[in-house]
């Protein structure tokens, strides 16, 4: 029988994966608690905020162990991965497997990624629909889709060389803004506001704001406040980028 503290680093990685696939704070804490009790811990103390995970595990023999993990990624959304992690934790709770086994299943799951094609198609569809949704016509929708391709390309090639999310947000919104302004100058029949709104929907940290307020309301105050400030910052930077582009094009 291996000591159950061997599970600890795997739990930390599991928490990290959960956070980066869009799980809420309470869900991560709940999952890790359940998994800990399932493998035989007497007491689990799990504390999760958006940037770190702390777990203290008490073993039946009276020993306790604490380990922390700094979480660097800032919350993407990958729901296929989330479902798989959820299934893993459910099956682990009903029938615990060995640490090596769990590690292997976890690393298999962490390899799931959406294909670039899916992301591209999703972005185009979303941007086009929202341009029309907010009152644009079909041409506006098509052009918003074109700008969505640009956003995706920026995400792929510019994001890795940007210092952080805020820098990237500025670059992306400024360049997208310039692209849309130039397009509307070339084709005067486009409605610039509708096209921009369609593409703003892709960049806006709207979900982040909603999640942040939700976290605060249900009691995960620290995470909520951290996320809220981050979201406000991203929204302000987004506005700054687009305003910069609009002002630039107004000069000539």
């Amino acid at each position: 029988m291996q000591p159950i503290t061997q599970y600890l680093p795997i739990f930390l990685d599991m928490g990290d994966e959960l956070l980066s696939s869009g799980a809420e704070i309470f869900r991560v804490e709940d999952t890790l608690n359940r998994m800990g009790y399932a493998c035989g811990a007497v007491q689990m103390n799990v504390f999760v905020i958006t940037s770190s995970i702390v777990i203290t595990m008490e073993c039946p023999d009276g020993n306790a162990r604490t380990q922390t993990k700094r979480v660097r990624g800032n919350g993407g959304n990958d729901f296929t991965k989330l479902e798989k992690l959820n299934d893993l934790s459910r099956s682990f709770c009903s029938q615990p497997c060995s640490p090596a086994d769990l590690r292997q299943r976890l690393s298999e799951i962490s390899r799931t990624r959406p294909t670039p094609f899916e992301q591209l198609a999703g972005s185009i569809l979303a941007a086009s629909s929202f341009a029309v949704f907010f009152g644009g016509n079909l041409k506006d929708g098509l052009f918003a889709g074109l700008a969505a391709v640009l956003i995706r390309l920026l995400h792929k090639f510019v994001r890795p060389v940007c210092m952080n999310e805020v820098t990237f947000q500025f670059v992306a919104s400024f360049l997208t803004g310039c692209f849309i302004c130039a397009g509307c100058r070339l084709f005067p029949f486009l409605h610039m506001d509708k096209v921009m709104i369609g593409d703003i929907m892709l960049l806006i940290p709207g979900l982040m704001t909603t999640n942040a307020i939700r976290d605060i309301l249900i009691g995960d105050t620290i995470s909520g406040v951290m996320r809220f400030i981050e979201a406000i910052l991203l929204a302000a930077i987004l506005a700054l980028g687009f305003i910069g582009a609009i002002c630039l094009f107004r000069r000539f």
Binding site: L82, T210, A212
Partner: protein, 145 residues
């Protein structure tokens, strides 16, 4: 209005693909986007304003997501997030900043306030629904014991 409902549903599907939900759930995401916006429109007709319609829509969408989560045995997050997308205040944020560019502070303040109210309304609606779901689950469990 019909156009809005349909494109809202399509937008939900787009974000569903972007967030990599399982392809078999994409129609459910579309239905969720449709449902959320429908509730919002109806309540806005009824009450006017921004906060209460988004609160009701957030509530309705979360109930929808919780039901689907039970039926499909999946997490409610993936259904909630994709369905709530049309409610996200992208347009008010845009008009807020375009007002700032034009120096129209009165409108900038109005749109900025609306943007915040949208976000607050959605979050509050979902929190209420979440609390009720938790409550019913607990009552259910204590009955079973």
């Amino acid at each position: 209005m019909i156009v809005q409902l349909l494109t809202g549903a399509l937008g939900s599907v787009g974000f569903g693909m972007l967030f990599h939900i399982k392809p078999k759930y994409l129609p459910l995401a579309a239905l969720g986007g449709f449902w959320g916006w429908l509730v919002f429109l109806l309540c806005r007709e009824l009450w006017g304003g921004v906060f209460f319609p988004t609160l009701a829509a957030g509530f309705a969408v979360d109930v929808y997501a919780e039901i689907l989560a039970r039926v499909c045995r999946e997490t409610s997050t993936s259904f909630f997030v994709t369905s709530v997308i049309p409610l996200i205040p992208g347009s008010t944020l845009y008009y807020c900043m375009s007002s700032i560019v034009e120096g129209d502070m009165l409108n900038a303040w109005r749109y900025g306030r609306d943007t915040f109210l949208y976000a607050l309304g959605i979050a509050a609606g979902m929190s209420i629904a979440w609390a009720i779901c938790y409550f019913t689950r607990k009552v259910h469990e204590s009955k079973a014991v």
